[in-house]
């Protein structure tokens, strides 16, 4: 793999994901507004929000752990960028990906949440600490069914831990398609939690803990968080489409159908967010562990039996 390919993909992927993320944020806000009989913001509003924050002062609470507080958004952002590069590389050329990059992407997508926990916990605010503890519990809750859901896809495609391989063998056979559909639905619900959208937004819950983990952030660090969140809002649907739904590969037609799938996933996430109230953290954990995990286990076993 030559350097030009790596650098090129990295730049294209980060910029592309940032743009896709901000557009998705706009879709989110616009669809939400239309559902709620409001007009909604203009297309560039998510970008304006970030640009405005970049010009604001950075305030660090006196009792906060400065390094952890300020480094957390940077770590989260960096992880999102690398994950973006890997995902895009797999979709641009499925035959040229790293072996086992699924595992790497999986861990990289987990990093922003971990960074959020570190940032919230080091900001010395009781609301942020509660938010961080909720985020931690939520991670424990959704990672298990999510992992199992990804496993259904891995098993159904003949134990490929390679994003390119997953794309090429997506949903081989009817039974494979069914188990992957189940995995996909579980994946969407876990994504809802990973992105911190209602009904799983208890880590920030502005009407309970005033924004929770984000409460002490201001200025550029907050802008970085918003950008990371926007990128995650693009990356998670891309990840789902890549792992469960054949990705974006296959020339112009592949990109077009991929984009359609992507928008469908985003709109699905937004609609779930707008038709549910926020759950309590214990209810969310119960939902993921006792509700989704058994279904995911059954899906994995079925996939293995069929394969």
């Amino acid at each position: 793999m030559d350097l030009a390919w790596i650098v090129g993909v990295f730049v294209v992927a980060v910029l592309g994901t940032a743009v896709a993320g901000l557009v998705s944020k706009w879709i989110d806000r616009k669809v939400t507004a239309r559902v709620q009989w409001r007009t909604g913001p203009p297309l560039l509003q998510p970008l304006y929000d970030i640009l405005k924050l970049l010009g604001k002062e950075t305030l660090v609470p006196r009792q906060a752990r400065r390094a952890g507080f300020l480094l957390a958004p940077v770590i989260g952002f960096a992880a999102a960028c690398v994950a973006a590069a890997l995902l895009w590389a797999a979709n641009i050329d499925p035959s040229r990906t790293l072996p086992g990059d699924l595992i790497l992407v999986w861990y990289l997508l987990m990093v922003p949440s971990v960074a959020l926990i570190i940032g919230g916990a080091s900001s010395a605010n009781p609301h942020a600490v509660i938010g961080a503890s909720r985020e931690m519990k939520l991670m424990l809750a959704y990672e298990l069914p999510m992992l199992l859901a990804v496993l259904t896809s891995v098993v159904a495609s003949g134990f490929t831990f390679n994003l390119g391989g997953l794309i090429q063998s997506a949903g081989a056979g009817v039974a494979g398609k069914i188990t992957m559909a189940v995995g996909f639905i579980i994946g969407v619900l876990c994504t809802q939690a990973k992105l911190g959208l209602v009904p799983f937004d208890m880590a920030e819950a502005e009407t309970e803990i005033q924004g929770g983990v984000y409460v002490e952030y201001s200025g550029p660090p907050l802008a970085l968080w918003l950008l990371t969140r926007a990128m995650m809002f693009a990356l998670m649907p891309i990840f789902l489409v890549t792992v469960f739904w054949g990705g974006f590969a296959g020339g112009a037609a592949g990109v077009a159908t991929g984009a359609l799938k992507y928008v469908l996933v985003v709109v699905l996430l937004v609609l779930i967010r707008n038709t549910n109230p926020r759950l309590r953290i214990d209810q969310a954990m119960r939902f993921f562990w006792y509700g989704l995990t058994p279904i995911a286990v059954v899906a994995v076993i079925l996939a293995a039996a069929v394969f």
Partner: protein, 393 residues
């Protein structure tokens, strides 16, 4: 486990008015709670003593931004109790109609806010949209969307023109299916059940012991409604029933409010059917010396007003007790032991209206066994501030 104090307020996204809650939590578990009211003392009772009886309703409408009609209603009840005058039937019906429209808009507002508090912003926006035509009605009926009260001693200030009646009927006809939809959205949604059923239970005995009123009491199975127990205006002439739910949880309180919407619609329709042309105000020339007591059922519960007159055109003492003042302390009975995520929802379920409750309160320091500030010190502070403002001007 380590105990953390989570401060909520005096400024917090959930509070539309200043108030401070201190929740002592272990993990997510609330083990103790404290509340401080009186961040916004407005001295309205004192101001009443300087106003004539015709001016007071305008001030009392501003005790609460939502119960604009209930406080003047209680004032009229108090004054009519004092002078014993007969209010013409048309005025009675107009008062009832406005008070019930107020209940409708207040309950819809609460449903929206409650949705917002549990992160369900769609319900928030929808409920407030459904509330909008009622505010438009207020404008048609009284000329004002928010201060729509038109009570005065002996009757009402403004008549409702006959051409407005069809508009009221039309709005009600349109509102009814929407209220049914909202009721269905709450009754049938499993996630709302998960968040509200069995949460913040105020047991019947606690409700009685804390003396809570309004939907907070009726949600705990206390059959108490001033419109029923001491009917004023035209409530004894129309057919309606008190909505009571026995469970005492947040869900029950929501159900009480959502079901009361239908009772309000029923009452307004009957008022429109029964109202007849006639005078709208009795001629009250003089008020005797003495005391008067007035109750009214505001959307949040019983509003109590007391007036003492010396026979002049101003009260010697005026006293207002808004429903939230008796409802707020009940959080001691149902917030402690709850989860932090539920705490504010439980408080919100009593539909608190904080500025109405504001008193001057003296805080007592238990270690020093005396007040943190005495009356004289407060007076000194007040004089110093007046002096400072005077110098700035």
């Amino acid at each position: 486990m380590k105990r953390t104090v989570v401060p909520i307020g005096p400024f917090h996204p959930i509070l539309e008015e200043p108030l401070r809650f201190e929740l002592h939590v272990e993990g997510e578990h609330v083990v103790d709670a404290d509340v401080r009211i009186s961040h916004n003392h407005r001295g309205m009772e004192k101001m009443c003593e300087g106003l004539s009886y015709d001016q007071i309703p305008f001030l009392l409408a501003r005790v609460c931004g939502i119960c604009s009609a209930s406080h003047p209603m209680a004032f009229c009840n108090a004054l009519e109790d004092l002078c014993g005058c007969e209010v013409p039937p048309r005025a009675q019906y107009i008062r009832t109609l406005i008070c019930e429209l107020e209940r409708l808009h207040s309950h819809l507002l609460w449903v929206g806010l409650a949705g917002h508090f549990i992160g369900y912003n769609t319900v928030y926006m929808w409920a407030w949209k459904y509330r909008e035509p009622i505010l438009d009605l207020f404008e048609k009926v009284s000329g004002s969307r928010n201060h729509y009260e038109n009570h005065r001693v002996g009757g009402v200030r403004r008549d409702i023109p006959d051409e407005v009646f069809p508009a009221i009927r039309k709005t009600l006809d349109e509102l009814e299916p929407k209220a049914e939809m909202l009721l269905g959205a709450v009754i049938d949604d499993p996630v709302i059940h998960a968040r509200t059923k069995g949460v913040g239970v105020l047991r019947n005995v606690d409700a009685v012991a804390y003396g809570v009123t309004g939907p907070t009491a009726r949600g705990s199975g206390v059959n108490q409604d001033i419109r029923d127990t001491e009917p004023y205006a035209a409530y004894d002439k129309v057919d309606w029933k008190v909505v009571v739910q026995p469970e005492g949880d947040v869900f029950a309180k929501a159900a009480v409010r959502l079901l009361e919407n239908f009772e309000s619609i029923k009452i307004i329709r009957q008022c429109l059917d029964q109202i007849e042309p006639g005078p709208i105000c009795a001629d009250v020339r003089e008020l005797p010396e003495g005391e008067g007591i007035g109750h009214a059922e505001a959307p949040r519960g019983e509003t109590f007003h007391y007036v003492r007159s010396d026979g002049t055109n101003r009260p010697v003492r005026y006293k207002v007790r808004a429903p939230t003042f008796v409802n707020v302390p009940s959080f001691k009975a149902n917030v402690i032991g709850a989860e932090l995520a539920d705490a504010m929802l439980i408080v919100a379920a009593m539909d608190p209206c904080y500025s109405c409750t504001q008193r001057m309160s003296l805080i007592r320091d238990d270690t020093r066994q005396q007040s943190v500030i005495t009356h004289d010190e407060l007076l000194q502070l007040s004089w110093a501030k007046t002096e400072r403002i005077r110098r700035q001007c």
